[in-house]
């Protein structure tokens, strides 16, 4: 990889780490509609408390007696009595009585440890000419504008909920953001099938997968490494082309339909999503099939499937308290003491296209389709204001290799990785959240790709670990300042002839963030 490309990749990576993380939202529009504080639904926004989970499950409504709490009455799009006239009239619905718009802005500051300067200067890079030098590409300190985002959410009546969020600007530049989630959610449509309450709900649009622990609405500044991990295999020695080039990661937005049921605040919860194949790492591009060879595109005529099942055991002895949205504590309602166990599975297919040859030697575009899956388990334990949770995931990509004659494919060894995270959140005071987190990714490909992949944070070995303590302060319920320090293991960009790393160094990073929503 040439220096220019390396720089651009590194820059992109840093921007992604700093800016495209913690794309989180609280909904001030609901505060206005219900005349209530952010903390009704959030612990250290955007983390939801049990009531917030129930509010979301119910389609952005109070789980019981929603109309009693709305301070701004909705606008009727048809008199309720029109229901009796259906199908001869449009079924009456509502829109919120005020625009359900919230805005968010954040600002970052990063400090990268000084010994990252080992990256600069005259380090010898594997595969490069000895003595080559790289210009500084990663600033040691950096103020950086983050997101200015707009988001809208609410309920149209008949238990139809909506959500749209979009980044109006990123990093201070106008309109280079993107749509986050945008969907309609038909809550509890299982009632038409006489199913138990909330047993069947349908969501259609673009959305984050029903991950055990959300990335898009995480309180952390930096993302979970396992959620951002793509599976980029080492090059095929036969022709130098990537063996697996699956840029899908679990945090990607998905386009499709999701069926779900149960509750997030107690008992069972399931979801099953059928989504566009998304191997470009972003939203599936149109047209779905692009005929440019030697590139990598979404192939949306194939649908990926994601499924999740979890069960949450609320541990209160009193049955009434155990089954209610919130537990009844001696000094007031609070989140349940609970243990949640879950599992998830994603099955998809990645696509690569190569310039190849027919048997007769004519030029031909060859398409490699490589099935892959991700499977994992998760747990979450909560006691009062202490929450310990973690996730493990295993990834497996079938490896199809272009043969040396460029006429077809053969099977290679699957490309795998695994890892997860463990995090403890402790709400020391209602406005102080202490966080300790450990991230781990084990990927042979990461190691083999090494510096040649342009991955600044590539590991010396196959394991990539990070320990991230953090603390967050709510200045007000809608203003937050956050800090985290990322400890990384030593790594190197120079090796002796025996492969031993030289001048290994850490790239520890301190990041601060200041954000507000209104």
């Amino acid at each position: 990889m040439d220096v220019g490309r390396r720089i651009s990749v590194i820059f992109s990576f840093v921007v992604i780490v700093i800016l495209l993380t913690g794309s989180s939202y609280a909904i001030p529009a609901f505060s206005r509609q219900y005349g209530t504080s952010c903390t009704t639904c959030h612990i250290d926004f955007p983390k939801l408390n049990d009531f917030g989970k129930a509010f979301k499950d119910a389609g952005f409504k109070f789980p019981k007696g929603d109309e009693d709490f709305i301070k701004v009455p909705p606008i009727m799009l048809g008199a309720p009595a029109q229901k009796d006239m259906w199908p001869h009239v449009i079924y009456p619905g509502t829109i919120p009585g005020l625009p359900q718009i919230g805005l968010r802005y954040n600002q970052f500051f990063q400090y990268t440890s000084g010994n990252a300067n080992n990256y600069y200067g005259s380090q010898v890079l594997p595969g490069s000419t000895p003595g080559s030098a790289l210009p500084p590409t990663i600033p040691r300190t950096d103020f950086q504008a983050g997101y200015f985002s707009i988001f809208m959410a609410g309920n149209f009546g008949s238990d139809i909920a909506f959500w749209v969020d979009d980044d109006l600007s990123v990093s201070g530049a106008n309109a280079n953001g993107a749509l986050g989630d945008g969907y309609l959610r038909f809550v509890n449509i299982g009632r038409f099938l006489k199913l138990p309450t909330d047993a069947f709900t349908v969501k259609v649009g673009q959305f984050e997968l029903d991950l055990p622990f959300t990335q898009a609405r995480s309180i952390n500044i930096s993302p979970y490494d396992i959620y951002t991990q793509a599976n980029i295999g080492a090059a095929n020695p036969a022709n130098g082309l990537p063996s697996v080039n699956n840029q899908f990661s679990m945090q990607d937005g998905a386009q499709g339909i999701e069926f779900s049921g149960g509750h997030q605040y107690g008992g069972y919860h399931y979801s099953l999503a059928v989504v566009n194949q998304n191997t470009s790492g972003g939203a599936a591009a149109a047209p779905p099939n692009v005929d440019t060879p030697s590139a990598f595109f979404s192939d949306s005529n194939y649908k990926d499937v994601y499924g999740r099942f979890s069960y949450r055991f609320n541990l209160e002895k009193d049955p009434a308290s155990r089954h209610d949205v919130q537990a009844a504590g001696a000094t007031g309602p609070r989140d349940h003491t609970y243990l949640s166990l879950g599992t998830f599975f994603f099955k998809g297919r990645s696509v690569q296209r190569f310039s190849g040859l027919t048997g007769g030697g004519a030029a031909e575009v060859l398409t490699a389709r490589e099935p892959f899956y991700r499977v994992g388990g998760d747990f979450s334990f909560n006691y009062r204001t202490f929450n310990l949770f973690g996730l493990y995931m295993y990834a497996h990509d079938q490896n199809v290799l272009l043969n040396s004659g460029f006429t077809g494919f053969g099977n290679g060894d699957p490309v795998k990785f695994n890892g997860g995270f463990l995090e403890a959140d402790y709400l020391a005071l209602p406005w102080v959240m202490a966080i300790m987190r450990y991230d781990h990714v084990q990927s042979t490909s990461d190691f083999l790709n090494g510096a040649s992949s342009g991955n600044y944070y590539s590991p010396v070995g196959s394991s990539r670990d990070r320990v991230t303590p953090g603390v967050q302060f709510l200045i007000h319920a809608n203003i937050k300042t956050s800090f985290e320090y990322q400890f990384r293991p030593r790594q190197a960009l120079a090796y002796d002839q025996n492969g031993k790393p030289l001048n290994s160094f850490r790239t520890n990073t301190a990041t601060g963030a200041l954000e507000f929503v209104y």
């Binding site: 903390t39 019981k64 009693d68 009844a328 000094t331 007031g332």
Partner: protein
């Protein structure tokens, strides 16, 4: 003779009632400088105690609000706290009359149920809910049975105050209390201008 005695007793009773009525006056006036309702009450009278009322006023939690927002009670009154909402609430207060040692948390109770508390200490009681921090209500515990809640324009009238000299206090949420001496002899006036 018997008829004469009864007549004398009736006349005596009327005279006594008239004399009592003449010795019980009113305090009226206006609280200005603030908007909304205020509370005006007569401070404790040295050497005089009053029996605790038996009525139990109710404060409801409804629509994420304390209703009514301000309640004035006499010292020793039991107030009942009702939860009419379909969400969980609690009631606590960080102090009574500014005394943080009198903080108390009533816990959690389900919709439709009440929880009583007897207020034996005089002063303003700021009511809060620990899951809905925007909720606020007030109980003003008056040391005497002579108190009034103003209307929204600040006008008030305290009736049946025995003639005498008192200290009268005006309270408003978010404003400093103001007290002034008032001599009651029939109808008396006391205006207040409060500031934050």
């Amino acid at each position: 003779m018997k008829r004469t005695l009864i007549s004398m007793m009736m006349v005596g009773t009327v005279v006594m009632m008239l004399s009592l009525a003449a010795s019980a006056g009113t305090i009226s006036g206006k609280v200005s400088g603030v908007s909304g309702e205020s509370v005006v009450y007569v401070e404790a009278v040295a050497g005089k105690t009053f029996p605790a009322p038996t009525a139990k006023p109710v404060i409801d939690q409804k629509g994420l609000m304390f209703q009514p927002h301000i309640v004035v009670v006499e010292q020793g009154t039991t107030v009942e706290f009702l939860n009419s909402d379909k969400v969980a609430h609690n009631v606590f207060w960080p102090s009574v009359g500014g005394n943080k040692k009198l903080t108390h948390n009533l816990g959690t109770w389900p919709q439709g149920e009440k929880r009583p508390f007897k207020f034996d200490n005089a002063g303003a009681v700021p009511l809060l809910c620990n899951v809905h921090p925007e909720m606020a209500g007030y109980i003003v515990v008056s040391p005497t049975p002579y108190f009034a809640l103003t209307d929204k324009s600040g006008e008030y009238k305290i009736e049946n105050v025995p003639d005498g000299s008192y200290t009268v206090v005006a309270w408003h949420e978010g404003a400093k209390n103001q007290s002034k001496p008032v001599s009651v002899a029939g109808d008396s006036k006391a205006d207040f201008t409060l500031s934050k």
